[in-house]
Structure formats: C-alpha cells, structure tokens
Symmetry: C2
Subunit: 447 residues, 2 copies
C-alpha cells in the first residue's frame, strides 16, 4: 500500500529534487558581493532581497528600517621588525579604531586567555602589544568558536585597561592558511580604545616560534579603518499568509549582511538562499499551512545584531504570537539533526514535525537550543526556538575570511538542509498544537 | 646473526634518529624570510648558508658569484568592474612589467590553453585582457604542474602578439583558497610587454561564472612591480672531500632563493635544510666516502636559473668528473622512490646503492629522470641524474604562494627523505663503479 504523502513530505521531496537555494546564493555573491552593514553593498543586498522575495511569490514583502553602524576597513599591513623583518598577514577586527598613519610599533606579550590578562604582573602590558594566542578547536557544532570568541569581543579593552597600546590575536579559525579572519569587537567604557587585528594562523605560529627564542619580538602594524555616522539599512520581510491562523507566525530567518573581506557565501549567503527557497517551496503548497510563515532577512547581524533588535522592537506586541523561530546561519554543511526549546508539552509536537525527517536519517529532536544570534532579542518573550543542526566541521576554515566565496558552497548539502527546514517549518506551521512558550527559568541567558 | 651495518645504513639510521633538517629550514624562514633574487633577503640567505656550512663542518666552504635579475612586486590590486564590482585576489607574475599607475581596465576573454590563442578569430584579443583559465591537476609527482606551466611562462607574450593589453591566469595551484600563486614569466622578443598576474582559484572561478552569463566582464588591475639593474648573488658551496678520488664529485643541491610572497619554507627551504643535513651526516662518517660530496645551494632558481647556469659555466671543465647530481626541490613530502638517468651499465650500481633503502619501503629504482631544474645546464655534459621522488600531492597547494611558511613543514617526512638522500649519496660516492655517462641520445631535451 502506498500511503499518500503528507504536505510536509511533499515539500521535503520537492526541496531534494529542485532546490534553487544555491542559485540564490550565487546571485547574491556575484551580483552584490560583500555587504557589510552601512556600506553600498548593504543597500544593494536589501534591494536584491526584496526583489527576490517578490519574484518567488511571497506576500506582504517589505523592508523594515534598521539603523546600523558603518565601519570600513581601509588599508592594513603588519610586520615583525625584530628579531628579523617578516611580513604579517592581518585584518582589523570590525569596529577597531585606526592606528596613527605611520602605524604603531612595540614589543608583543603573548597571552592565552582573557583570564590570563588579570594574572599578569602589573605593567607587564604597559606600552606593549597584547598578543592573544589561543587556538580554536574544530567541532561539528561550532562549540569551539563559542569558547574563544570572547577574546575577539573583549580582548582589546581588557588589554588596554592594563596599559597595552595595541591588540593582536590568533584568528578564530581552523584553517592553516595565510588568510586572517575578522569579526566584531567592542570597546568597553573606561578603557582606552586601542587598535585590534587578527593574524592568520601561520603568522600567529611565527610569533609564537620567535617568542620561544627568548628574544624580545617587536611588531609594527598599521590599520586604516574608519567609523562613519550611523547608516540606514533594513530587515527584509516576506510571508506565506496562514490559512486558518494568519496572526500566528512561524519565523524563519537568516542574515543578509556579511563581512567585507569576501562575498559572505557561507556566512550567511547560504542561509539567505535556503530560507528564500523554504519560502518559495512552502508558498507553492496548496493549501498554505494554517499559520503564517514569515521569512526574515536580518540586517547587520555581524556588527551588533541591530537588525535583530529592530525586529524585536518593531514586532514587540506580536512576539507572543510567534509560535517558533528558526535561523539558518551555520554554513553550507549537511543537516544532521534538530534541536528545540519550547514549553513543557513541546516534545510530542516537534516529534510529529520530525516524522518526515526520519527518512533523511535525522535522529529524534533534542532539547535545549539557544537558537541563532538574531533570535536573541526574542528570548525574553519566551518564543520557542528551533535549530537545524548543520555540520560545521569545515565552517570555521572559511567564516569571516577572504575565503568566504561561492566556490565553497555545497549545493547537495544545501538541498538536504532546505528539505529539513521546509518540512519542519511546514509541519509546525500547520500543526494542531504549538510548542507552547519557553518557561521563564529556561530561557537562554545572554552571555 | 647480526650483520654489521654498512656506512650507508649507518648514515640512513642517523638521519632517521636525529635529523636537524627541519631546524635549518626554521632558522632560514624565521631569521631570513623571503629571499627573492636580488633582494636584501637574497644576500642575507647567502650569508646564513655560508655560516651554516662552516658550522656543520663542511670543507672548502665558499660563495661563487652569480649575477641575478632583480625584480620587486610593489602594490597590486584587482577588481571586476562590470557586471558588478568585485575585488580580485591576484599577484603579479615574476618579471611582469607594471601597469600604468591608474591600472588597466578592459573586457576579459577566456582562453584555456596556449594553443587556443592561435585558434581565436583575428582581433578577438585586441585591446582585451586575456584570461587563461586552465585548471591544474593534482598529482603525486608534479606532472600536473609541468603540463600547465608553459601558460605562465609564455601566455603574456602569446596573447600580446594577438593584441591583448593584459594577461590574467588561473594560478598554477591545487588549493581552493584566495591566495594567488606567483612564478616566473618571460617576454618573447617582438611581442609588446603586457602586465601579467595570477588569480586565486576562487577568483578565476568567479570570472568563469560571470562569463557564463554571456554579459561582457570587465576587469581593472594595477601592478606596481619594478625591475632593477642586475644584482650580485652567489651559489654557496661546501664539500666533504673524497678519501680516494677527491676530484670526482657527487653533487647534491637545492636552491637557496624563494619567491617573495612568503618565506619559501617548502620551496625550497626544506631542500636547503635536507641537503645541509645530508652534508652534516656524511661529514661525520669516518672514513669519508671515496669521492667528494659537494653541497650546492643554488642562487636564483626561481627567476631564470642563473645560479645553475653560473655553476655549469664555473665548473665546466670539471663536469666530466661529476659522477652524479641530485637536487631536492619538491617540498616536504615523504620520499617514495628513486629515479635515475645514467650510462648503459648504471643499473647494478644504483641498485647496490638502493639496497639499504629497501628497509624504508622504497621500490627498485626506475629510469629515466630529468632531475631538478638546477641540473638542466649539466645535461649537455652527460652528468648522471638522480631524483629522490617525494610525495608532492599537497605541494602545489602551497608552492609560490603566501602560504609557503614554516608551519607547513613535516619534520618526520623530512627525516625520511634525508635518510634516503644521505644513504643514496653515500653509497654512490663510495661505490667502486660509477653510473657512467648519459648517452647523447638519452639526455633530456630542454622544454
């Protein structure tokens, strides 16, 4: 007996057969390119995304204004000046101040962790360049990145408070090539703002080897980055309006912005491509699911989560009717599981939605999850969170570096992830019951 | 019964137990760094090598003057200007002329091979930028590189003869990252000298994707390279003087120069480190082998083989007493075999020298070989050629790029290669018979 396929199974199979997600990424990368918040590419990306949502048949397509920081990189260079002259491959961290035009030059002091800064003797960093040299572990789920990313966020201010004049760090990267990985940093109130940059792993290795000899190691570097006045950007939103409960929203998002060193193919072009394709595929299903599926392409995730905050503010009164939220922002790897965070009776609901995904080899959904970064501002409202777990083993070879280009995209793995996300979203948007609300004591704590 | 080990076995086992080859590479990379012919690093490398030969106990340590080209890179940048602006990662080919200060900008025309240039319609390249887009095959023995390297050598002049104003090429690389691979090019007489650069593979892929859309693709690039007057460099030579036949020479060499984008750890720092270690280990054997083992660190292999030509000229009268020559210039990979080219009765001689290498898993030596590039000027004299075959599967991920840094060095694989080279060199230098001379009709033809 051949069972008729459920709508969720149909949408899954159409994703596997005909996903266009990789085509959308290619278009975004090749026709827009880098799209760091506030830059010309950011505006081009918003226009592209809006037109694409219309083209694939979404309803209520609109932009929602977001004010964003605007920072640009400019020229940058570095070198060891002593014991012997050696070029260094480095990139300013996002938000760094510039050096003086002639650069800064000083002895470096190696530090492993943020905690080590406090353990240093008084004045050990005074007038020096702090060199954070903590390796990052390769993991499937990205946990290795989470463990070291506070160094990038806070290392400069921590070191500056102890008198350091500059901050260099081993890139948060698993790739052994000469491409540095950038990413956001933040100056803390009260500490001097010192220039901060990431070194490629081979360059960090070089400094480490030179330090082992016991001779002072001096480095010179120049950053030409600039901060501009706040700029206008936008979240781009489109919907498949629910058949029965149009006011209840299942949100699926990705972030539209990228870092400036490359075209952001994996971070987060693939996410953009995949959520658009989920939207297209679900939009073609008749009937539509009971609840509204809302596609949100967030502005400026990378440099301050301003799109996410703006979304939560703009839709504050509506968040109680957000029945779940899912963000795809973990690269091009194949989906291997689902994680969720919901109310006390969420398990049977998510398991029913998981049913069509067993055929793709996905194990029973696990809980909890923190969800994607753009969902953080929804945590206080108790919105249930979903994660499609993608294999990120290779992701941090590429992430935030000049290597984040379209040739790294894996169309077949993307199709699988689209199939998982589409079936899951369809299933939950169409389910009789919902996931409840995340109880107050179980909501993720902001790190 | 325990057989006493032969001297070749002893030198093999000492190499495996205590090779310092990787330490020499590290010193060269970290204290000298890039050492392109004619630059300050070139002179520093010569001084370093001479001091190192003395320190490890070689005899007759000397420099032999070599006049070299002197070319420097300067600033370089590139971008797609149409259909959409996109940055391109590129590096000038060694020897290229500069662009005008404002760069050149034109439509690109994709070409697969040198032969295709002749097949183009008249004027297809006139005023255009020729874009050679031939992928390179990954091979263990480097044959993939040999097949495509004529594009780098001659592509610019071939295209210029058809009216092209610039030449871009897909890097001769097997690495899918944004690091371009440089290398020597040569202008032919009669054709205009046009600027020439290599693109990283992802950038070549981008141009290829853009061309597929059928719209004209325009590129702008700027090269700030400069040629300077001929400079002074030197081959660095040291010996272990033969016990019985000091006038007969077994040459083992590597090249001391590197490209400028990195520290030349694999090309050819490891070769330098390994031949120095072979020298140290053989020098410590008593008695020394019958014939003289001569260690030669060639100047400027990369940009015109000028050290090799100078050596052959300086030692012209002595080449008939060069009983064999071996160059190590294929990276850090493990030795998997021996190839040779000798006279009609060479086989039993090389097989006896191979005997102690069976224990390392090396199969019976094969013939012929062309030997290393620095041995080319010795071909006309019929000098027997040796090759220690090293696994080069990963070599062209790194070769000639900014990624050629010490962290890529594999000390264990180097020890194995040192063991093979040291036992082979000792064996042949101490053998009763020699490899004869390469018959006239079997000498490699210069490509």
């Amino acid at each position: 007996m051949h069972q008729p396929r459920s709508p969720a199974e149909q949408v899954r199979d159409r994703a596997l057969a005909e996903s266009k997600a990789h085509e959308y990424v290619r278009e975004l990368c090749d026709s827009v390119g880098p799209r760091l918040a506030g830059t010309a590419g950011d505006g081009m990306a918003v226009a592209w995304a809006k037109a694409k949502m219309v083209a694939i048949g979404l309803s209520n397509v609109r932009t929602e204004a977001v004010a964003v920081v605007h920072w640009e990189r400019g020229r940058e260079s570095g070198e060891v000046t002593s014991p012997a002259k050696q070029a260094l491959a480095l990139s300013a961290l996002g938000g760094s101040v510039a050096t003086p035009e002639q650069g800064i030059e000083s002895e470096i002091v190696e530090i492993k962790s943020l905690a080590d800064v406090d353990a240093l003797p008084v004045d050990a960093l005074r007038g020096k360049i702090a060199f954070f040299n903590q390796p990052m572990e390769r993991t499937r789920d990205g946990a290795g990145y989470g463990r070291v990313s506070p160094i990038r966020q806070s290392g400069a201010s921590k070191a500056a408070a102890q008198g350091a004049v500059g901050m260099l760090m081993r890139s948060l990267s698993t790739a052994e090539n000469r491409l540095p990985h950038t990413g956001a940093m933040r100056y803390e109130e009260g500490a001097p703002k010192i220039p901060a940059a990431a070194l490629s792993l081979p360059d960090a290795d070089l400094l480490q080897r030179l330090l082992v000899t016991g001779h002072p190691v001096r480095v010179h570097f120049t950053l030409g980055c600039r901060s501009f006045p706040e700029a206008n950007s936008a979240n781009v939103v489109g919907e498949i309006v629910g058949q029965d409960k149009p006011d209840e929203v299942l949100l699926i998002g990705a972030h539209l912005d990228s870092w400036d060193l490359a075209t952001g193919a994996l971070d987060d072009g693939v996410g953009v491509g995949m959520v658009l394709e989920v939207g297209r595929l679900i939009g073609q299903m008749h009937p539509h699911p009971r609840r509204t599926v809302r596609i949100v392409l967030f502005s400026n995730e990378e440099h301050g989560l301003s799109g996410a905050h703006a979304y939560a503010r703009t839709h504050e009164s509506e968040l109680e009717r957000h029945v779940a939220a899912l963000e795809l922002d973990h690269g091009t790897g194949k989906a291997y599981g689902i994680a969720y965070l919901g109310g006390p009776t969420a398990a049977p609901v998510i398991e029913e939605a998981w049913f069509p995904l067993q055929a793709l080899g996905l194990p029973r959904p696990t809980s909890p999850t923190r969800g994607g970064a753009d969902l953080i501002p929804m945590h206080p409202a108790g919105v249930p969170l979903l994660t499609v777990q993608q294999d990120g083993t290779q992701y941090f070879d590429i992430h935030h570096s000049a290597d984040d280009t379209y040739d790294k995209v894996d169309p077949a793995a993307m199709s699988q992830t689209v199939a998982v996300a589409a079936a899951l979203v369809y299933g939950l948007a169409d389910a009789e019951k919902d996931l409840g609300r995340v109880p107050l004591d179980q909501r993720p704590k902001t790190r």
